[in-house]
């Protein structure tokens, strides 16, 4: 899989688990990730390889592995762009 190997969360981000997602706190600003983004964030910050994120995600949201891969990639890119972390190579 030609994909980033890992996701490195920004050290200053604090996350709080909520009933319907995960709240990310960055200084004075907060963002709530719903699902499936919250699951991807959780697995990424635990250092899962992307292949494992995709394999787990396709069960979590009951889509094909290809679809899960696209959702995971889009989410990790969104998280990087919004400054919540960076994707490894």
């Amino acid at each position: 899989m030609k994909l980033p190997a890992a996701f490195q969360p920004s050290p200053e981000i604090r996350s709080v688990v909520e009933p319907a997602g995960v709240r990310l706190i960055h200084g004075q600003s907060e963002t709530v990730l719903g699902y499936p983004e919250a699951a991807i964030w959780d697995m990424a910050v635990r250092g899962y390889e992307l292949a494992r994120i995709v394999d787990t995600l396709h069960h979590i949201i009951e889509v094909t592995p290809a679809h899960a891969e696209q959702i995971a990639l889009d989410t990790l890119q969104m998280l990087s762009e919004r400054g919540f972390g960076s994707q490894g190579q």
Partner: protein
């Protein structure tokens, strides 16, 4: 005379103490310390259904508060399926080698759950709750060690939350675990679980003797690190401590150490269940009276630290006729998709002549629950000869239906019964504000022997006392 009709069975008990009796009528909620003459009047009332004229007003009031002499089963579950929780067993395998453990691993095919099986079970439960208008349900993870199959755990937690976020039915998560985690897994468990039941058998010398990872590899430091991390996490930490004859004299200091070091919300001291494996390892259960004495003292230590002592048999939310999942419509998904109300291996209950299965997850994902089998389990728990005359019948309710109160088990009290009887009596006395009497009971070997020797506590069964 006030006649009162008879409609079922008596649940009025008299527990002998030194010089008086603990009158316990759990259905009407009556609890009193009385003398033998009062017990005789209670008995006369239960036999005749009438309150005798001319009794002292206090006694007359007490008899009226008893309610009908006989009542139908007050806790019988009725109506459609109403699962107490959804249980999931991701794996039968375990990564520890506890010396008292008699869980046998089944064949490889039955050991590990396919994530799709967990997904089907969660979909069933969430949709079931949605149809009934329930907003919350509980998922309990059992093993083996559940986190051995951490991929299944990840799917369970996030799929249940994913579904919940869409339909507004929110899961809570409880896990029983040995706590052998790395840092990332500790963080995940602390963040996403609501309650973690962690097995920690006390100080290093006891824990490492009982619960090694392998013959030459102890587990104490890793488990303590998990407890330390969970002590500051969102998850509520519950410590389950298996007590042996060696550790029982140290329960109070273990309780203090748990509270000061880990701030658990609940601590459950459980006497070790003897097995061929424990005997081979030279481990013995505590004597029931030693356990009761030290457990009661340790509970006082726990409460002084705002920690709740736990015992499914002694502390209950109201009355019950089962203290295990059996008979509570629990849906427990075994790794191979079998649905049962018990998390033990089917071989275990089959050896007792029982079938605790209630259905199966079919190949197409359909969750097929057989209501006649659910009703059969509701009936099973109503008939336990060992419990029939015990004052703990509607609280302890007999414990494990496979290993303790199975059909055909001996009617005499087990060691576990003896400890529970002593602790329940002491707890009821504390509820009455009679802590000194409770302490006297567990410190007095003769009083404990008297309590142990009684074949029936039912007031209706006793001969008139002088």
């Amino acid at each position: 005379m006030t006649p009162i009709g008879k409609t079922g069975e008596s649940h009025v008990y008299a527990v002998p103490l030194s010089g008086h009796y603990l009158l316990h009528a759990p259905v009407s909620g009556l609890l009193a310390l009385v003398n033998a003459a009062a017990v005789n009047e209670v008995r006369a009332y239960l036999v005749s259904g009438q309150v005798r004229d001319g009794l002292p007003s206090q006694l007359e009031d007490l008899l009226h508060r008893l309610g009908p002499p006989e009542v139908p089963d007050p806790v019988q579950r009725r109506g459609p399926l109403a699962p107490a929780f959804l249980g999931i067993i991701p794996s039968r395998r375990c990564n520890m080698a506890c010396r008292y453990c008699d869980f046998r691993e089944p064949g490889p095919r039955q050991q590990v759950m396919d994530p799709a099986t967990a997904v089907h079970a969660i979909d069933f439960m969430a949709e079931y709750c949605e149809r009934r208008g329930q907003k919350h349900y509980q998922i309990q993870l059992f093993g083996g060690e559940p986190f051995i199959e951490d991929r299944v755990v990840d799917v369970v937690v996030h799929h249940a939350r994913f579904v919940g976020s869409r339909i507004g039915v929110f899961p809570s998560f409880v896990v029983s675990t040995n706590g052998l985690f790395g840092p990332a897994r500790r963080q995940f468990v602390g963040d996403f679980f609501d309650r973690v039941v962690l097995s920690l058998d006390g100080f290093r010398e006891f824990h490492d003797r009982n619960r090694p990872i392998s013959l030459d590899r102890p587990s104490f430091d890793e488990v303590v690190e998990t407890a330390r991390c969970l002590s500051t996490a969102r998850a509520q930490l519950c410590i389950r401590c298996c007590v042996t004859s060696e550790s029982v004299p140290h329960l109070e200091s273990i309780a203090r150490w748990f509270c000061e070091k880990f701030h658990p919300i609940v601590v459950n001291f459980e006497p070790m269940t003897e097995s061929p494996e424990s005997r081979q390892a030279g481990l013995a259960p505590p004597s029931p009276h030693d356990f009761a004495r030290h457990a009661l003292r340790s509970w006082q230590v726990l409460r002084s630290h705002n920690c709740e002592p736990a015992s499914a048999a002694v502390f209950t939310d109201g009355l019950q006729n089962t203290s295990c999942p059996v008979g509570r419509d629990a849906v427990i998904v075994h790794p191979d998709g079998l649905l049962a109300s018990c998390y033990l291996l089917p071989n275990d209950w089959e050896a007792r002549g029982m079938d605790l299965t209630i259905g199966r997850i079919l190949a197409d994902g359909t969750v097929d629950i057989r209501m006649p089998d659910v009703l059969g389990l509701r009936r099973l728990i109503q008939s336990k000869p060992r419990c029939a005359r015990c004052f703990c019948r509607l609280t302890c309710a007999g414990g494990c239906h496979v290993n303790h109160s199975y059909p055909g088990c001996a009617e005499r009290y087990s060691d576990s019964c003896l400890a529970i009887r002593a602790l329940t009596a002491a707890t009821l006395l504390e509820d009455l504000g009679q802590s000194d009497v409770a302490n006297d009971l567990v410190e007095d070997p003769e009083a404990l022997d008297r309590l142990s020797a009684r074949s029936s506590d039912r007031v209706l069964d006793i001969e008139e006392w002088s």
